[in-house]
């Protein structure tokens, strides 16, 4: 007996240029009552499209071309709109990726949570409110009686994500679709949210579809895992089978990307001059009357990066790690403290720094999409710093651009393309090549792999390692993802609330002494189905 049954589903899409493509190519899938099935794959694998088809919904530009999507006896692909709308929220419910965007900012939370009951006339409003409070309690939300009276901007991200789950559960659905519900959360928050989801789903005996790109997260909650790529099923099996006895090469590459090869040849720390030294830096936003920033984002931060070595900076959102990069680069001049490059004191503001200082210290930003000028060709983007720093022009510039493209493993022909025509990984490589064009000694990498799929991110990390070997670079590698930091760094600095918590050698993270770094390291999901259940309970955030 199955609750939902997808048979040979094909979804077509029309691209911006008017080309017709098939994004789901004959997918079949069964979901039993009470079973949680994970759809895993990288961006563009079609996992969200398949999940949304269970609600009879296609995003604008897409349409179900053929196949059937039976949910509780109704074919969501062909049923009339009225019938499908009646099932949404009552039989199949949806928990969105970004709860922050999925809540209407102008309406109170409780009214949005019980809206399903109102739309489908399931129960009197008083009863719906009482039920919502019950669900809030089950999801371990603080102040379950009154939290609903707030507006979306008045609660935290982790709370919003649980409220979104409450919104899905209010109609007692038989099937709940979780669309990357913890991707936007910090690891320490993610663990609480995952736990709340798991206990509520188990208690209600509901079936679920869990869409994610993160195998470790999925391992904690799913009974069965379906691996997708390019709109096709690659491999399907129980969570244990996929994690430990994967047969398909693509699944294996996903698993391999989870454990990047550790850094092999580290240069011993030198007693001589550091490549970059930050001493007691304080910086913040908004200028108050007394010359002090109104909002301190960095307080008394010191760190040291030796030549040929890499410093990892790890922390959750709001920990000040990106602010540190901006302060070092002089984009946000520190109000106190000193920044030394190769033993030589630099001006706090990038505007006051010499061209030579600017050249030696480069920064690569997280979002290549916004960091690259969409109107300039790749060759131009890489060529401009060549002219600016080295005065290279004409044929020499052309030749150097070719070399740089080669260094970041991009084909020569790409120089004529615009950033919009490249994939995410390719754009990040161009972003890196632009920094390399200056011939820097230190590169600040600010979350440069965060927006990339795991396999692509792993290849960018490999590239960074190779470049370091060839060009004698030093990286400050900022990330919220512990495994990438471990893969490339010699030392890891943990930040929290704008302060340095602890600095540890990358191979001895287990010896962390500070309670916060311990919590942070232990919150990273492991590729192990029992990990979440073994984690000790902690007060809800």
């Amino acid at each position: 007996m199955t609750l939902a049954q997808i048979r040979d589903l094909r979804v077509g899409a029309t691209t911006d240029s008017g080309r017709k493509v098939q994004i789901i190519r004959g997918v079949s899938l069964d979901i039993a009552p009470g079973e949680i099935v994970a759809l895993i794959g990288e961006s563009g694998s079609g996992k969200t499209t398949i999940a949304l088809s269970l609600m009879g919904h296609c995003r604008p530009g897409c349409h179900i071309a053929s196949g059937s999507v039976m949910v509780d006896g109704v074919d969501m692909a062909t049923a009339p709109e009225r019938q499908r709308a009646a099932l949404r929220g009552t039989t199949v419910a949806y928990v969105p990726q970004s709860a922050a965007a999925a809540f209407n900012p102008a309406t109170r939370l409780i009214d949005q949570v019980i809206e399903v009951a109102r739309i489908h006339d399931l129960m009197p409003m008083d009863q719906a409110r009482a039920k919502a409070v019950e669900v809030f309690r089950a999801l371990a939300l603080p102040d379950p009686e009154t939290i609903g009276d707030r507006y979306p901007h008045q609660v935290s991200g982790g709370q919003l994500q649980r409220l979104a789950a409450a919104m899905a559960l209010i109609g007692d659905p038989k099937l709940v679709i979780f669309d990357e519900p913890t991707t936007a959360l910090d690891v320490t928050t993610q663990i609480e949210v995952l736990r709340a989801f798991k206990s509520v789903m188990k208690a209600g005996g509901m079936a679920g579809v869990y869409v994610s790109h993160d195998l470790a997260v999925v391992a904690q909650i799913a009974d069965r895992i379906v691996v997708l790529k390019g709109g096709e099923v690659q491999e399907e099996g129980t969570a244990d089978q996929i994690l430990h006895r994967a047969t398909h090469p693509y699944t294996k590459s996903l698993l391999a990307a989870f454990h990047p090869a550790p850094r092999a040849t580290a240069v011993a720390p030198s007693k001589t001059v550091a490549a970059l030294e930050v001493q007691n830096v304080t910086a913040g936003y908004g200028m108050g009357r007394d010359g002090q920033p109104r909002k301190i984002a960095l307080e008394n931060v010191s760190c040291r990066l030796d030549k040929g070595r890499n410093l990892g900076v790890i922390g959750e959102s709001g920990s000040g790690k990106s602010t540190l990069a901006r302060a070092i680069a002089g984009l946000l001049p520190p109000v106190k403290g000193r920044i030394m490059l190769d033993g030589h004191l630099m001006e706090p503001s990038s505007r006051a720094r010499s061209k030579e200082d600017l050249r030696r210290l480069q920064i690569v930003f997280q979002l290549a999409d916004t960091a690259l000028n969409p109107a300039q060709s790749v060759g131009d983007i890489i060529g401009r710093p060549l002219t600016f720093y080295h005065g290279t022009k004409g044929a020499a510039r052309q030749a150097r651009v070719a070399q740089l493209l080669d260094m970041v493993r991009l084909p020569q022909a790409m120089r004529h393309r615009l950033p919009g025509e490249l994939s995410g990984g390719q754009k990040q490589r161009v972003n890196l090549a632009r920094a390399l064009a200056a011939d820097p000694e230190v590169i600040l990498c600010d979350e440069i792999t965060s927006a990339l799929d795991t396999v692509v991110a792993a290849s960018v990390i490999e590239l960074l390692k190779d470049l370091q070997r060839d060009l004698n670079l030093s990286y400050v590698f900022i990330s919220h993802d512990l495994s990438t930091v471990e893969a490339i760094c010699d030392e890891v600095m943990v930040m929290h609330h704008g302060r340095v918590v602890e600095t540890l050698p990358a191979d001895r993270l287990t010896q962390a002494r500070d309670p916060y770094s311990k919590l942070l390291f232990s919150s990273v999901p492991q590729l192990d189905t029992g990990w979440l259940d073994r984690m000790p309970l902690r007060a809800a955030i």
């Binding site: 609600m55 919904h57 709308a85 009646a86 099932l87 949404r88 929220g89 009552t90 419910a93 949806y94 969105p96 970004s98 965007a101 999925a102 809540f103 209407n104 900012p105 102008a106 309406t107 809206e115 399903v116 739309i119 489908h120 707030r150 507006y151 901007h153 008045q154 919104m167």
Partner: protein
């Protein structure tokens, strides 16, 4: 209400006052640059140089411009708009009656066009892409493209000349009963509504459609909400800011831009007064009219800004 909102609103009003000051300076400077000499025009060709100089002195025109500006601004602050050069009447008195007429016309047009524009804007957004939407959108584009004097002239031609249903002139007719008043106002109001509501419909539709793309609207859809619930409950409350701004911009046109309509229908409004003032070089009257237009415009825009601030739940709570 939290203090942040109060600060924001007071800030908006402060900006409006400063803008008004700057505009007063520009208006004064612009009227100074108008060609022609009011004394020459008043006294005619045969005036002796002594008479011209005497009158100039009597009208304070021999003082430097900056002094006259200061004097005018001082008067303005006390509500004194000065006296007309042409007929020595107080400008406030001249404008008063006309302004009431213009406001009457503007209020009628707003009362008629705002509900219609809102309704059409929202319904076209709900049934986007339908036959209804396409028909309304095409008509709106057509109306925007046709200049108002053409609409006005055609209206006179059809309703007054051919059909004879409505009076061609709005003023000086019979005002004994409500029916006659309605008939008198019908054509100017319809003509003006055509012009202002076209813009409002387009902006409302665009603002609602833009918010319909928001993830929370898709979320509402996935909760089983109907199209109208998605628009009315989820999109509209978040589109109030841009809609009110579009309304304010369109309606501000009613205060200053109605000159053509007032002229064609011979309506004694303030715009017509200003044009007459230009032809007689009646500087105080021109300045007074310009300041009124500016004040009306700023009032509407400031109201729109304040509404947009109050409509933002992040600021309200």
């Amino acid at each position: 209400m939290n203090p942040q909102v109060l600060t924001l609103i007071l800030g908006r009003i402060g900006v409006a006052v400063v803008t008004l000051l700057i505009v007063s300076l520009i208006v004064f400077a612009a009227t100074e640059m108008l060609p022609g000499d009011v004394v020459q025009i008043l006294l005619g060709q045969a005036a002796t140089p002594e008479a011209v100089a005497g009158l100039r002195q009597a009208m304070n025109l021999d003082q430097p411009a900056i002094m006259r500006f200061a004097g005018w601004l001082g008067g303005l602050a006390q509500g004194d708009l000065g006296h007309s050069y042409a007929n020595r009447m107080a400008v406030a008195e001249l404008i008063g009656g006309r302004l009431a007429n213009t406001l009457k016309l503007a209020a009628l047009t707003a009362g008629f066009s705002v509900p219609i524009a809102l309704m059409l804007g929202i319904t076209t957004a709900i049934w986007r892409g339908s036959l209804f939407d396409r028909a309304v959108s095409s008509i709106v584009v057509a109306v925007i493209s046709v200049p108002e004097f053409l609409v006005a002239t055609l209206a006179v031609l059809v309703f007054a000349v051919w059909l004879g249903w409505l009076p061609a002139l709005s003023f000086g007719g019979d005002t004994s009963d409500i029916w006659a008043v309605l008939r008198a106002y019908a054509m100017p109001v319809i003509t003006l509504s055509f012009v202002v509501s076209a813009q409002m419909i387009r902006m409302t539709r665009a603002a609602v459609i833009e918010t319909l793309k928001a993830p929370y609207v898709e979320m509402a859809f996935l909760k089983g909400a109907s199209r109208s619930r998605m628009v009315l409950r989820h999109a509209l409350p978040n589109a109030i800011g841009p809609i009110v701004n579009a309304m304010a911009l369109s309606l501000s046109y009613l205060l200053g831009g109605v000159i053509i309509v007032e002229t064609i229908f011979n309506y004694p409004g303030i715009a017509k007064l200003m044009v007459d003032a230009v032809s007689t070089r009646d500087l105080p009257l021109i300045q007074g009219c310009a300041m009124i237009f500016c004040l009306g415009y700023l009032t509407l825009i400031t109201i729109a800004d304040v509404v947009a601030i109050l409509a933002n739940p992040r600021l309200r709570h």
